[in-house]
């Protein structure tokens, strides 16, 4: 009696054919973690030849009617990590995230071969303090940059802010408040040089409200013991990652403080990237 091929393996062969035709990697999912009903993280195996700079994003996705359906995702992992981790929201009507949220260990994802982005230390001039200002899933690239030893060579101090609506949406909080300080390498490297500054816009929280408001009202500077509530163009370097409106607000504030936007070809004092959704 001839044995029928299990459905799983034939699906995998189809996916491999699409990946080959579209010059994509096809990578196995190794870990999935749901933070809340609307936020989750997952990891895939990293291809040996896949190189990226900490803070970059890459297109990843699933098969959709024999074609790849890809979206840009910031890589949470630092560039030395063996796997690739991503942080995503779940959009009920989102073509990709509505399906991605059901991801299980052992599933496969397409991974584009060309990571890119502007939230890289290469796009910033050296400075004293690096501020990484993120909202929602815009935290993702900063988790990568934070764990790149080069970041700590270039800057004396790192301040990472994360603004969400409700306290439970502070994903990676335990990691940023505790685990990273217990880490063999980073515990030492970050001692007295790293501040995690979460803010929550709905509900009671010790540091409440939008980060833009807290900066402008001076609460941010006061909480951190900084002098004045403006960014100093000579010493402050800033990375911004959030919604389109948030990025615009932050960029105009920074320009008003005298900071200049940088890029890979011309490093400056701040860089902006939107958090990718959908």
């Amino acid at each position: 009696m001839s044995q029928e091929k299990p459905k799983e393996s034939s699906t995998l062969i189809d996916l491999q054919a699409i990946a080959e035709a579209k010059k994509l990697f096809l990578q196995r999912v190794t870990w999935v973690h749901h933070w809340t009903d609307s936020l989750f993280s997952f990891r895939i195996e990293r291809p040996d030849s896949f190189r990226f700079r900490s803070g970059e994003f890459v297109m990843i996705g699933l098969e959709d009617g024999n074609r790849p359906l890809l979206r840009a995702y910031s890589i949470v992992s630092p560039n030395w990590e063996e796997h690739l981790e991503f942080f995503s929201i779940k959009v009920p009507e989102g073509p990709l995230t509505s399906r991605l949220q059901h991801l299980k260990v052992g599933d496969y994802l397409f991974l584009n071969k060309k990571p890119t982005g502007t939230l890289v230390t290469d796009a910033l001039k050296s400075g004293q303090r690096l501020f990484m200002i993120g909202t929602g899933t815009g935290l993702a690239p900063f988790l990568s940059v934070l764990r790149d030893p080069e970041t700590h060579e270039k800057f004396d101090e790192i301040i990472l802010t994360h603004t969400v609506r409700e306290e439970q949406e502070l994903a990676y909080r335990e990691f940023l408040e505790e685990q990273i300080h217990a880490d063999e390498i980073f515990g030492e490297l970050l001692r007295d040089r790293f501040t995690y500054y979460p803010t929550v816009t709905r509900g009671e929280f010790r540091t409440q409200g939008r980060i833009t408001d807290r900066i402008q009202l001076g609460d941010f500077a006061k909480d951190l013991g900084l002098i004045g509530n403006r960014f100093n163009p000579l010493t402050a370097r800033v990375m911004v990652c959030g919604s389109m409106a948030f990025n615009k607000d932050m960029a105009s504030m920074l320009k008003e403080h005298g900071l200049q936007e940088g890029s890979n070809s011309a490093p400056g004092s701040f860089v902006v990237e939107r958090a990718f959704v959908g």
């Binding site: 890459v58 297109m59 584009n112 060309k114 890029s263 070809s265 939107r274």
Partner: protein, 113 residues
């Protein structure tokens, strides 16, 4: 929405944008590049990379959407470009000149890839 390549690129074609595009949506003419509007994912990484500030979001196009039309038309005709090639040797001379499109634009395809 998409990003579009506009006048300052003509005769300069520095191609820094090509290196950073995650979806390789640039197409190459002899002395100009265009973005394929249907392939652009609107990530905006190319915009600050352009040394001559030729790349803009399409909501900053002329009212008659001239540049969107140029980008749409030539991205269908020219070959895809996925890596930075050699810029014209006289690129610097044309860097600050305005209204270059009507004077110098060439419909001929480029040949980097």
């Amino acid at each position: 929405m998409t990003f579009i390549v506009t006048d300052p690129c003509v005769k300069c074609k520095l191609m820094d944008c090509v290196e950073v595009c995650p979806v390789d949506c640039f197409y190459e003419g002899e002395n100009f590049l265009v973005i394929h509007p249907d392939e652009c994912i609107d990530c905006g990484v190319c915009e600050p990379e352009c040394p001559v500030e030729a790349i803009k979001p399409d909501d900053e196009d002329t009212p008659d959407q001239f540049w969107l039309e140029v980008n749409t038309k030539y991205s269908e005709m020219w070959p895809n470009i996925t890596r930075k090639g050699v810029s014209p040797v006289d690129a610097d001379e044309f860097r600050n000149e305005e209204n270059k499109f009507e004077r110098y634009f060439s419909e001929e395809p480029g040949d980097t890839d």
